[in-house]
Subunit: 181 residues, 2 copies
């Protein structure tokens, strides 16, 4: 099993904090990680099976108020694997913004349409920024109690910084487009 498969490493990373079910892992992806990494059930559950098969994690069945769960824990081998991967330099930081793509070809459609794409983008970013700011407030209160919060906060602050820059750009871009029409 090579080191490169990202989904495995992400899951191991989450399991290194705490034991989790596949469902809970998905929730983490949709909240804490969603701004810079995503994954669906269709990749999470098979990855969990592989992890167990390769001795990186173990699973146990539990029933809580008649509800069946499969809880995964990281093994020593899994922790080593995670550490090896964390040591390697990041190889791919990539951004795919359809909004920018549409803007790039903006002359084909005109300034009004470009502005409406920017408006939609701005609205989404504003909402997400609010959410990030809330997260940061909560994290700052707990940052001393748990070291994992410190690193989580760092990624949230990355989001806040960049999303604020996006908003600045939105305003300037729209001003430019309105002026030159």
């Amino acid at each position: 099993m090579a080191i490169e498969k990202k989904i495995d490493c992400v899951i191991l990373g989450l399991l290194s904090h705490e034991d989790l079910t596949g469902y809970e892992i998905k929730k983490r992806m949709d909240t804490s990680l969603k701004y810079f990494w995503g994954a669906s059930y269709g990749s999470i559950y098979p990855a969990l099976s592989d992890l167990v098969k390769n001795g990186m994690a173990v699973k146990r069945d539990e029933t809580e108020n008649n509800r069946h769960k499969i809880i995964y824990s990281i093994t020593q081998k899994g922790r080593c694997h995670l550490k090896d991967w964390l040591r390697l330099p990041a190889e791919k930081d990539e951004l795919r913004y359809e909004t920018l793509l549409k803007l790039f070809f903006g002359n084909e459609a005109g300034a009004l349409q470009a502005i409406s794409h920017i408006d939609a983008f701005e609205e989404k970013i504003e909402k997400d920024l609010q959410h990030l700011t809330d997260s940061a407030d909560i994290l700052r209160k707990n940052v001393s109690s748990d070291d994992t919060h410190k690193y989580y906060l760092l990624t949230v602050e990355f989001g806040i910084k960049t999303y604020s820059a996006y908003l600045e750009w939105c305003r300037e871009a729209k001003t430019m487009l309105k002026k030159e029409r």
Copy 2:
């Protein structure tokens, strides 16, 4: 042929400016578009075939100083398709930063390692920012002559804004990590 296939729309967008060969399209992807969209030959050439098959583009063979080329042009139908796609709201703006992922799990590896990931990230961003700044300077000089430059400049300014924010974050994040060790 549905509207959704991105690679087709990107190629049509490029062809809406000028006739191009597959090779030249790849070059555009690696320069003007690389900060927010990427594509390899393995997706470009098949897409070009499909585009011709569907009447969105036409190709012609040419020989320039004994060098064989296949030059593609957009058709009226292709232009309509492009415009239809440009009208639709952008559905996916997504970022996948392995650096942030590794940072998120930073407590497993420690502050020193986190800092070295940030250093690598910072170095790459600084280089790219320089390149973006150079592009912006050139574009600003030509922005009045050609409307397509205006929109190109907008995306470059997006890059400059966000990359500058990244650098600010890098410095703050490192300060935080060094202080708390």
